[in-house]
């Protein structure tokens, strides 16, 4: 067979690849833009499910000794709320933004491994589905999203609840790991000519480091879940005290994964904010290189601070002191980022679009979450904060006030690029103000609930402890957040009915490459791969009076990967195998695994020749 280039020209018009339409198109797509939309849709549905669970939790806690839900149901709700929000809502919505934006920002036609990209989505989706099916089988995970043993172990948790957690996350985790590998390889190998590492947009940098964290943190979770699964299904003794196991080992494993995980969640938000703030201030990001350095440092430190989740476990003063100091150090690079954002705004020409409102709302909110983080880092004081509502307030400030505000900012900002339609600004601002106000109402008071002695994860509380008023305020705030989310959904539905008329540079002040191509971009993204001449490549061309990027290659047919149904079937195989393992039906388990392996076999044996698109021809046809 000839080399690739020759092959491409020889067969430019001869290859006929079956191209699907409608539903089959979505099930077989390997296009990063469509996969991004799938991630967004699935992630948002899970976000609504997790949000509903949160509302039920807040209704139960609205007044003392409430009996709106039973005690064991409450534990199921809090477990599923945490697990759903982190693994099935927040991360997929981040993956949605990554998929929608990264290849465009680096001037690439797709990700490095389009097939794996689709596989990653489907494994996540079926993992999440498996986890949520537990609501219908009646045995729901109920040991918290941290699943501390022995509470989650076979001795004290005999039903299949935690099995759903273990196997669901294991399957979803495969998808996340694949995504991490994919985006690392994409960003290293697929950048357009001229885009050196130090010319990458900040969002790309953030995603690059996020992917690194995923690659090195998720295998730890994989092993932890395998161990707890073996304990539960095969009577192994990793964490069974009676068999010589040790529950503290699970805590270590979980948090060695878990702490980088929270940076996996927040770093992309940092990236989004950097893009949005710079765009709407019409200014270059202040202190770009220190921003890059800060992100790298945060990631590095992120692996050395896990035991600050375990100050009260009894690790001894040496460990507690070391982890206290290491944790406090993270405040320094984070502070650098905050000030850099403020000074990006300084001297700018700030336009308050919805996206920018979310971004500037993020800054003070995240500062509040950050300072409580430093407070928690002080181990002796943490003996008081730990596992109290103070911690609940802290991590919701960084995850909702940080990440979710960041995701909303990113969605409003890139919506025209993803869908070709603008979201309504009026409704967007209504979303912001209700969500933002509701958020602070819900979580600000929780700091004080914790300090007044209310432990977290409590199903109810006795009267006369000074908890009543603040819990009521908190619940009212939660409803307001719910209303904000509904307004967003309404906004999306209204936008859907409107024509696709968003401009290429939808906000007019776009700085990065994605704004140099139509909204939404054609299947091949760039007719010609652009030549990058500096940071903020598109802005630079605009300032030089150009209306298009300088191409780095001649026009020609574009090679595209073929769509494939295999990722979907492979994930279904794993999904079936998951149930087989859980209910100890070895035939079902083996059958599911076999389906997956047959798909891998087919993928290896049949080479994907792809097909070619001629952009000129397409334009003529249109």
């Amino acid at each position: 067979m000839a080399t690739h280039a020759a092959h491409a020209h020889a067969h430019a018009h001869t290859h006929t690849v079956k191209r699907y339409k409608g539903l089959m198109d979505w099930l077989t797509t390997v296009d990063h833009k469509k996969i991004g939309i799938l991630y967004l849709l699935a992630g948002f549905i899970f976000f609504l499910v997790g949000g509903l669970e949160a509302i039920l939790i807040r209704i139960q806690l609205m007044k003392p000794m409430n009996d709106f839900v039973a005690a064991d149901t409450f534990n199921e709700l809090l477990t599923m709320h945490g697990t759903t929000m982190i693994f099935l809502a927040a991360m997929p919505m981040l993956f949605a933004l990554m998929n929608a934006v990264i290849p465009l920002q680096i001037g690439a036609r797709d990700v490095a491994f389009p097939f794996l990209n689709a596989l990653g989505f489907w494994t996540f989706f079926f993992g999440g589905l498996l986890l949520n099916i537990s609501w219908f089988t009646g045995t729901v995970p109920d040991a918290g999203w941290t699943s501390y043993v022995p509470l989650a172990g076979p001795t004290y948790n005999g039903t299949h609840g935690v099995d759903y957690y273990v196997i669901g996350l294991q399957i979803a985790g495969i998808g996340t790991l694949l995504g991490g590998i994919n985006f690392m390889a994409t960003i290293i190998n697929m950048r357009a000519p001229g885009m050196s590492f130090m010319r990458m947009p900040m969002f790309t940098w953030a995603i690059f480091i996020t992917s690194v964290l995923i690659v090195f943190a998720f295998p730890v979770l994989t092993v932890g879940l395998v161990a707890i699964m073996f304990d539960r299904l095969f009577q192994a003794n990793f964490f069974e005290v009676g068999g010589g196991g040790n529950g503290v080992l699970w805590e270590h494993i979980f948090w060695v994964f878990g702490h980088p995980e929270v940076y996996i969640l927040i770093l992309p938000a940092f990236g989004v904010i950097s893009e949005v703030v710079a765009t709407f201030a019409r200014k270059r990001l202040f202190g770009y290189s220190s921003m890059v350095f800060a992100i790298v440092l945060i990631a590095f430190l992120g692996f050395m601070v896990w035991a600050h989740h375990m100050f009260t476990t009894g690790l001894g003063p040496v460990a507690n002191a070391l982890f206290s100091i290491a944790t406090m150090l993270i405040a320094v690079p984070t502070g650098v980022k905050i000030f850099n954002w403020l000074f990006t705004l300084w001297g700018g020409s700030i336009k308050f679009t919805t996206a920018n409102l979310f971004a500037v709302g993020f800054i003070p909110t995240f500062v509040l979450g950050g300072v409580t983080g430093v407070m928690l880092a002080s181990a002796p004081a943490d003996y008081q904060y730990h596992d109290s509502y103070f911690v609940v307030a802290h991590f919701h400030y960084v995850i909702v006030g940080g990440l979710i505000l960041g995701i909303f900012a990113g969605l409003h900002y890139w919506w025209p690029k993803m869908f070709g339609r603008m979201l309504n600004e009026g409704l967007g601002k209504l979303t912001f103000w209700t969500f933002f106000t509701g958020f602070h109402l819900t979580f600000f008071v929780q700091h004080f609930l914790g300090l007044l002695g209310m432990p977290r994860r409590v199903w109810t509380y006795l009267p006369n402890q000074g908890f009543e008023t603040m819990n009521l305020i908190s619940s009212i705030g939660a409803f307001l957040m719910g209303i904000g989310t509904i307004v967003f959904v309404v906004n999306v539905i209204i936008a859907w009915a409107k024509p696709r008329n968003a401009a290429a540079d939808a906000w007019e002040d776009g700085r990065t490459l994605e704004w140099s191509i139509p909204s939404p971009p054609p299947e091949y993204n760039f007719k010609q791969i652009p030549l990058v001449r500096g940071l903020d490549a598109w802005w630079k061309e605009k300032m030089d009076g150009k209306t298009a990027m300088t191409p780095a290659e001649p026009l020609g047919p574009i090679h595209m990967p073929s769509p494939s149904i295999l990722p979907l079937i492979m994930s279904i195989g794993l999904f079936i195998a998951g149930f087989g393992f859980m209910y100890q039906n070895h035939w079902v388990a083996a059958g599911g695994i076999l389906v997956t392996f047959v798909c891998m076999f087919l993928r290896s044996v049949y080479d994907d020749h792809g097909f070619h698109i001629d952009p000129e021809e397409e334009e003529v046809q249109a």
């Binding site: 290293i188 950048r191 357009a192 885009m195 040790n246 270590h252 060695v256 692996f303 460990a319």
Partner: protein, 105 residues
Amino acid sequence: MASNHSVSGEEAKRHKLEGPQKHIVAFVLSLALTIIAFAAVAAGEINTTFTYIILVVMALIQVFVQLAFWMHMKDRGHLFPIICILSGVFVVFAMVIMAVYWVWW
């Protein structure tokens, strides 16, 4: 564009010429290191801590030899592979320290 793939003519030639000798040396070295480790245990006379040190040092040298020669990590254009493996090792290092000291405290 990451340019860790540019293969100059000369380098290609060098690759062509690269014979099995180097790899056989690496193999013999690995063999020797393995035998030393097994012998140290089989002898059983030396004290435990010292044996542990010998074992760990032999393993580390052998892994270095194999990564460098057999997995080509000494070759040009392997910057990212080195970063990947070292980052993994960094995480593992933290966890092994945890396993050795903190779990049973």
